[in-house]
Symmetry: C2
Subunit: 339 residues, 2 copies
């Protein structure tokens, strides 16, 4: 292993000078700098990060708390984070939280005390993970997509409530009155807010709430659970003519269920999803959904975290990125069988 001392000898200067050239390059004669650079080249010198980190008391590592990445939503967010962090000179350490819950305060705190990470981005905190607030006072933290409403901790997401409302309004405009929702039993704030948005839309349109039209899929938005939830809904004495699903995969499950029960989407049933992941346009009917800028969400999270790590004055604490309602083939005006 070649170290700074070797470079100093090779360049005929002191280690201090080498270090200066490597870091700031300020206050060193251009010719001395050149000598050092050449020596570094010749020896293929790379500074030892453990030593540097020890000395500077930093790690240049960002911790990412992510649930099962198989969800394409998360993989896109991850890409965004990784791209930015690399540009900023950080490495990204990924901790699998296995579809939340296991997200343990002690584990996380220990990683920071041990000086393993300079900051953290969470992708799927539960709305009641209150411990985060206390944690954020001590270490740089950004919550991406999901966040704890009551805690004043930096977060970045989409306006889920508004997006859901707009999506349901589209259904209402199409003449639907019996509109169901398939949400999830997880404890994500997004699920709550999408339900709120759904109710907002109904209320504004003067449609009274019917709790039998609120179905719950599994915590991890599994296809099977979406299928089951839709089946239950469609088996109701007064079945809905439209279903708003809080995730694309759930919507796909709902469509499958409808097909199995002999219902044609969108003619017999309208379905909408959320997120706009790739497979929404892999099969007909293409899914009407809400596009969420996953990659951008990731990118901005890292940028925001960096502001907090570097203690940039006036760093934002709350960012909402624009969403977009994408009309495709799974919604249609209600067939007027009643009224």
């Amino acid at each position: 292993m070649v170290k700074i001392e070797d470079v100093a000898r090779e360049a005929g200067v002191s280690v201090a000078t080498v270090s200066r050239v490597l870091n700031e390059s300020c206050g060193v004669l251009p010719e001395t700098q050149e000598k050092v650079r050449l020596a570094v080249e010749r020896l293929h010198y790379e500074p030892n990060l453990s030593a540097r980190n020890l000395r500077k008391n930093e790690s240049r590592i960002i911790l990412i708390l992510a649930p099962n990445f198989s969800n394409p939503y998360y993989s896109n967010v991850l890409s965004g984070i990784c791209d930015v962090s690399r540009n900023l000179g950080y490495s990204t350490l990924i901790y699998n939280t296995y579809d939340s819950n296991a997200l343990d305060e002690k584990l996380v705190t220990s990683l920071f005390q041990k000086n393993r990470a300079d900051g953290m981005i969470t992708l799927a905190v539960n709305r009641d993970d209150y411990w985060l607030a206390q944690y954020a006072e001590k270490y740089p933290l950004v919550q991406c997509s999901e966040y704890v409403e009551e805690a004043a901790v930096p977060h970045i997401s989409v306006d889920n409530r508004l997006a859901a409302k707009e999506s349901v309004q589209h259904l209402i405009v199409q003449g639907h009155r019996r509109i169901a929702i398939v949400t999830s039993t997880n404890r994500y704030l997004s699920s709550t807010n999408r339900l709120r948005g759904y109710l907002d839309a109904l209320e504004e349109a003067g449609i009274s709430r019917d709790d039998s039209l609120i179905a719950y899929a599994s915590a991890d938005y599994s296809f099977a659970s979406g299928k089951q939830a839709a089946k239950d809904l469609l088996s109701l004495p007064e079945a809905p003519s439209a279903i708003f699903c809080v995730s694309d995969i759930l919507a796909l499950g709902a469509i499958a269920s409808a097909g199995k029960m002999g219902l044609q989407v969108p003619w017999d049933l309208s379905v909408t999803g959320f997120d706009d992941v790739d497979y929404t346009t892999m099969f007909h009917p293409y899914l009407t959904t809400v596009a969420v800028p996953c990659y951008e969400l990731g990118r901005r999270s890292m940028l925001l975290l960096y502001d907090h790590i570097t203690q940039k004055p006036g760093a934002e604490r709350e960012v909402y990125l624009p969403h977009q309602i994408i009309l495709r083939e799974t919604t249609a005006p209600q067939a007027r069988t009643d009224a």
Copy 2:
């Protein structure tokens, strides 16, 4: 920050003793051990990893070189790696290689010289990434799924050639003679081997090779490119009655193409995929495919890497995990229109 010295003072022993308890626990009186443990508890002491790593010349970090994780195949492998590495006391650093190619020797080597990682697992090397061989002489490395055939570098995968052969044989048994393949323009060994397996099966069955039946989809197995490749194939004067695709997503694209051209799968066309990712059973017809044990592949990779890091004598250098042909709804006996 509480350090080992504080613990020593609190416990009334020397730092050496504390260190011993923390690491080996050998040769320390049980009662002394207890004193130390209590002090650690009281002070919430966590050893500083930078310092420890500097001293022990290790990082306890594993580098994972992965392409776009949005591919569910990779996310499952990743889960397997992460689970094992955590148990082994390693953190996993993920480097996005953006659908290969950018996998740069200099970048990787520098990460090791800098002492940032103790070992590396690659998920998608190209079959001609020969530099890996030299690299592997200096640093622990395991290639997962894809590997460089000519290089004697540890790798773990599935027997792609055999699996492909078996898959095509299933088609042959069903009476198909004009069997096409949709492979990819990427430089993965798996693509090559699946093509070899396809040819093996044909040859063994006495079916002569027809290069017009070999189509190439995009390097990243995109749905759109699968669609296009299938379209070209089906537009042939003598169209194939079965298509073997080297990836599930490609197969889904082929099915979409067939549908668009008025062909019913499996009655008018048989299609098979590869990998068995989740969405193969999200839409009818469910895909006949080859199941690859992704999670297990990841798990075993990390285990193998650990053997190499710890220089376990007789650590394996070549591991093949069993695959499984899964018959579902996209293959059927050929409709005897010819012959």
